[in-house]
């Protein structure tokens, strides 16, 4: 199972991005192999519809869980259709957030404004 987080950088100490659609990177964490990799988010270049494009990328990568601070309405719609679960990042920290997810401490996002 792959967990994705939008991140500001491509290293493990990078903070989780406050944006979803225009985040510069995504961190992809493979739960089974306990391995991490980062991918660039091409959607940042888009004039409009960055959220939809980024959501499509995440779906394409076979992600099942997304941990984010915010997710826009359109991207959320794509995730609902795809059956991807979204959790609110509280620690704002890649490994801490993943640990909290594993121990069941993160809240599921059900609307586009979790706060």
């Amino acid at each position: 199972m792959i967990i994705a987080l939008p991140t500001l950088g491509n290293t493990l100490d990078s903070p989780v991005s406050p944006q979803f659609g225009r985040t510069p990177y995504f961190c992809l964490y493979d739960l089974e192999s306990d391995s991490v990799r980062f991918i660039r988010n091409d959607a940042t270049e888009s004039q409009g519809g960055a959220g939809v494009k980024a959501a499509d990328l995440i779906v394409n990568m076979g992600v099942e869980i997304l941990i984010a601070q915010n997710v826009g309405e359109k991207a959320l719609h794509v995730f609902r259709q795809s059956g991807i679960e979204i959790y609110v990042s509280r620690a704002n920290h890649i490994t801490l957030d993943i640990e909290r997810y594993k121990s069941g401490k993160l809240t599921k996002i059900i609307s586009s404004n979790p706060q």
Binding site: G48, V52, D56, V78, S82
Partner: protein, 280 residues
């Protein structure tokens, strides 16, 4: 004869000038192409003769046919499509209606589905025709409404059509300029006004349109605009003063030329000069 009133900067007086000039020219047509916030009708208060709904091409997807190939998503530069559970889905708000995905889909799973983007109110005031475009809130662009206004105007016959264009120099302004035979650039003699004026001059020049300039809100020193006009061989056909009484009439949504003989005279003079430039 379509005469487009453009300015770059908003609030320079496109509506004010086009409404008042149209009101002084017998049998003329006033076309409000500033569809995001049309306001010319507030001055003319036309009797509405017809309402025309304007549709844009949207798309609908037959999920049973979609084989999840992802070609349409890759094609759409507006990111209006995404793939979920191997089926394409569309976001109508982002769709610009280019129809490219319909052509590219090898399963013929996408078809055209018209979506209403706005309305054109066709009316009249005395012997003037008044056409106003209204873009529905949340819609991307009024280009198709503008195109439709011009095609409706063609049925009006001959005469002078005063085209009140949107501000800026974007797609909607270019669509207006494209349909116009002559451009009247409304310029504000300020540093900000000059900066926008330059962009607007470049736009008209690059689209190969002839243009004249009207200065509005003049406080006496218009060198900023006048010098630039001279350098670019642009005829200056009128200068409207910064006048509290005029502003007051305008704020009450009254047509200045109907209020006093003096104002009618000023606009008649501008029209005489503009017309002779057009006919040159």
């Amino acid at each position: 004869m379509n005469i487009g009133f453009i300015s770059g900067k908003g609030g320079t007086g496109k509506t004010y000038l086009s409404v008042n000039l149209a009101a002084r020219v017998k049998g003329s047509l006033y076309l409000d192409c500033d569809c995001e916030e049309p306001n010319g009708h507030l001055f003319f208060r036309p009797s509405i003769d017809k309402r025309h709904i304007v549709n844009a091409c949207g798309v609908s997807i037959d999920a049973n046919r979609c084989d999840g190939c992802h070609a349409c998503v890759d094609f759409c530069v507006y990111n209006a499509l995404a793939m979920a559970r191997n089926k394409a889905m569309v976001f109508p708000d982002l769709c610009h209606g280019c129809g490219g995905c319909i052509r590219i889909c090898h399963m013929c799973a996408i078809e055209e589905k018209p979506q209403s983007i706005g309305v054109i109110m066709q009316g009249h005031h005395d012997d003037h025709g008044v056409f106003s475009g209204f873009l529905n809130p949340g819609k991307e662009s009024a280009v198709l409404i503008i195109r439709h206004i011009f095609s409706l105007a063609r049925t009006w016959g001959d005469g002078y059509f005063f085209v009140d264009c949107p501000p800026g120099n974007g797609c909607q302004v270019m669509e207006c300029v494209h349909h116009c035979d002559y451009i009247a650039i409304v310029a504000e003699p300020s540093i900000f006004g000059l900066s926008n004026f330059k962009m607007t001059v470049r736009l008209t020049e690059s689209m190969g349109k002839r243009a004249a300039v009207i200065i509005n809100k003049s406080m006496g020193d218009d060198d900023l605009i006048v010098d630039y006009c001279r350098e670019h061989h642009l005829p200056l056909v009128g200068t409207m003063p910064f006048d509290r009484a005029l502003a007051h009439i305008n704020n009450e949504a009254k047509i200045a030329v109907d209020e006093s003989f003096e104002y009618a005279q000023i606009f008649d003079d501008i029209w005489t000069r503009l017309k002779s430039e057009i006919e040159r």
